[in-house]
């Protein structure tokens, strides 16, 4: 296993910048997740590490050694392609055995058989050995592709959306398997995904890519609790974080936020207020997650007044979207909540958990108690 470092990687396809001065370091045995929307440059970044795409500028280092001029075959990197890239004319067995049959990584047939057995069992495709890729479903193809990747002992595993085409149940199972594999064999893994739950549950660290640039690099907790900007904040969490405009005002010596054109003021926690006062902000953007909003259908003095816009039950929870002064806020409410559309609803925002962003640039300013949230033990990771 090896560490991987990228220094100032720039790559353009024609006039489009796929990667723009990207630098990052993946430590030995780290599970590193590249996260971002479609077209962010995640796949190009992976291929640059693998050596099948070449950066126009910058260095790729594996274990401190510059590999820009090394052929992909000599980099000893194993990759799952998003399009599976299986060999159509070979059976599942031969596909998975292929890396162990090349001159470079030659193994004897008995060893190959044992290894293929191991990974196909793990992927639950051991009954499909004799099939060809054209005779498999997409989910099965994807598992063959993962199998072909895991069968080796490379410097690093690169996985490009390896679970994207699996059904929900299998995806959950495979997520567990990958996590387990990660902890039992020390493997450096770079994992591309656009599913924030996968990113948060698997990653040691996450890099959020957007338009070829890294928006933020850090642990899952940092992404969730202290996002660098509104873009990152919106990527993590379901329902999407609510971000609204607010105006800072003083109320009997304490800082508060006026928002939605309503009389009710939102208090700011003292430690956040200190930072906000120091930064000469008057207008801010306030982010608050759906589970930090309480609601009531009966009028409560001092709460925000809104109306129900839509009510979506999604099994284990209900997402209620409320219209407050023209701004829509999504909140997570108990499963048995029944609401009629346009019914009045009263909301209270837990401002202890609010994240403040700069009104002009959308960048992170402060949240209350940030350090404590971020250092929370991994066991308390909670999704949405």
């Amino acid at each position: 296993m090896a560490s991987i470092a990228l220094e100032n990687i720039t790559k353009a396809f024609g006039k489009i910048n796929a990667l723009d001065d990207v630098s990052l370091e993946v430590k030995d045995n780290e599970f590193f997740v590249l996260f971002g929307p479609a077209g962010a440059g995640k796949t190009t970044l992976l291929k640059t590490i693998a050596g099948v795409e070449f950066p126009q500028k910058g260095l790729v280092k594996i274990d401190g050694e510059i590999v820009n001029h090394k052929e992909p075959m000599h980099r000893n990197i194993s990759m799952v392609f998003e399009s599976y890239a299986l060999y159509p004319h070979m059976t599942v067995y031969d596909n998975i055995a292929s890396p162990m049959r090349s001159k470079l990584y030659k193994k004897d047939e008995a060893h190959i058989r044992r290894q293929v057995e191991r990974v196909t069992k793990m992927m639950q495709i051991d009954h499909l050995w004799e099939r060809r890729p054209s005779q498999l479903s997409n989910g099965q193809r994807q598992r063959v592709a993962i199998g072909r990747c895991l069968v080796r002992e490379p410097n690093a595993f690169l996985m490009d959306e390896p679970l994207a085409h699996l059904d929900a149940k299998l995806r959950h199972h495979m997520r567990g398997e990958l996590k387990e594999m990660q902890s039992s064999f020390d493997t450096t893994t770079i994992y591309v995904t656009h599913d924030y739950m996968e990113a948060m549950s698997l990653a040691d660290r996450i890099a959020v890519l957007n338009l070829g640039k890294i928006e933020q690099l850090g642990t899952p907790m940092e992404m969730y609790y202290t996002p660098n900007n509104e873009f990152v904040a919106r990527l993590f969490g379901e329902p999407e974080i609510n971000i609204f405009d607010g105006e800072l005002t003083e109320r009997s010596g304490e800082l508060a936020v006026r928002a939605f054109g309503q009389a009710a003021l939102l208090p700011v926690a003292p430690d956040a207020a200190k930072v906000l006062r120091g930064g000469e902000h008057r207008k801010v953007r306030v982010g608050i997650r759906g589970n930090d909003i309480s609601f009531s259908f009966d009028e409560v003095p001092g709460w925000l007044r809104g109306s129900v816009y839509v009510n979506e039950p999604i099994g284990n929870k209900v997402i209620l979207v409320a219209d407050v002064g023209g701004v829509r806020l999504s909140l997570v409410v108990p499963n048995d909540t029944r609401a009629k559309i346009d019914q009045p609803v009263f909301l209270s925002l837990n401002m202890q958990h609010a994240i403040f962003f700069c009104a002009e640039k959308g960048t992170y300013i402060v949240r209350s108690n940030a350090a404590q949230h971020v250092s929370d033990a991994p066991g308390t990771k909670e999704e949405g």
């Binding site: 693998a50 050596g51 075959m73 990197i77 392609f81 399009s83 004319h89 890396p99 990584y105 072909r148």
Partner: protein
């Protein structure tokens, strides 16, 4: 209980009825299809059959008999034993086979480059190659004759194989290019990461995938080269003779020896027939231009 039973019964009856109808329709369809195909094959194969018949007829019976005549082998004897027709046959095999071989060795890499790499005027180059097929052979054959005369390629295997590239190369390049384009680049990249050299990737991954197209295109190219008439007529003479030119010999100035022409033609089409039968599977799959992905 009785009412539902009655109901069910009548339902089954209609079901059986429609099934009967369906079976009748299917039988009719099968019959119609067979009839159509039968008629077509009669239309397609009858000339061949007729050629076989007249190859056994003597000149005397050529025009006054249809199916009943005294079979004779004198045409075969005249063509195969008394002339050097077999020579022409083998020489034709050498030029056509050689032409296809050169095309494969040079054309497949060209097709790969046209499919994979982006370079200036790529489509222009591809179209230029294809356009060699548009130009009538008679248009270029005279200048080629003069050039060959000067550089000593007239009446040689090399010269003819070279000129045949005009016929075989565009076909192979265009068919194989489509096949390469259908193969995802990531398949090649995956193989490279698996530890294979580029050349190994080409042999182990790409060649098996383009094989149906390559075989079909080569076969067609071979047939076109085999049947070529204008080029060998003008560019060859005594050293190299192709079968197409030689078979014209049996059309003498005073009389056409139809029996001998038929024998010559039968011998000429044999390799094509055999090749087609053997690689029929590849031909059908290959000419569907990658529509059926293996």
């Amino acid at each position: 209980m009785s009412a539902p039973t009655g109901n069910t019964y009548s339902n089954t009856e209609t079901l059986v009825d429609t099934q009967k109808n369906k079976r009748a329709v299917t039988a009719l369809q099968t019959f119609g299809r067979s009839l159509g195909l039968g008629l077509y094959s009669l239309f397609a194969l009858f000339p061949l059959f007729w050629m076989v018949l007249i190859s056994f007829k003597s000149d005397r019976e050529m025009f006054n008999t249809l199916f009943i005549f005294t079979p004779t082998l004198e045409n075969y004897e005249a063509v195969l034993l008394r002339t050097d027709y077999f020579m022409a046959f083998f020489q034709n095999l050498i030029v056509s086979g050689g032409a296809v071989l050169v095309t494969v060795v040079a054309g497949v890499p060209v097709a790969y480059a046209l499919a994979r790499y982006n370079f200036k005027h790529k489509e222009g180059v591809a179209f230029q190659i294809l356009s060699f097929r548009f130009a009538p052979e008679i248009m270029v054959v005279v200048p080629i004759f003069l050039i060959f005369q000067n550089i000593g390629l007239l009446d040689t295997y090399l010269g003819l194989i070279w000129v045949y590239q005009l016929i075989t190369m565009p076909l192979v390049i265009w068919v194989v290019r489509g096949y390469f384009e259908d193969i995802s680049v990531e398949v090649e990249q995956a193989a490279q990461l698996d530890g294979y050299r580029w050349f190994e990737v080409f042999i182990k991954i790409l060649i098996p995938l383009i094989k149906p197209g390559l075989v079909a295109a080569c076969l067609l190219a071979f047939i076109f080269a085999w049947n070529s008439f204008t080029f060998p007529l003008v560019l060859t003479g005594f050293q190299v003779q192709t079968i197409t030119v030689t078979s014209m010999r049996y059309i003498a100035s005073d009389t056409v020896r139809f029996g001998q022409v038929a024998v010559a033609a039968l011998v000429a089409i044999t390799p094509q027939l055999i090749a087609c039968l053997f690689i029929q599977k590849h031909l059908v799959r290959g000419l569907s231009f990658g529509a059926v992905k293996g």
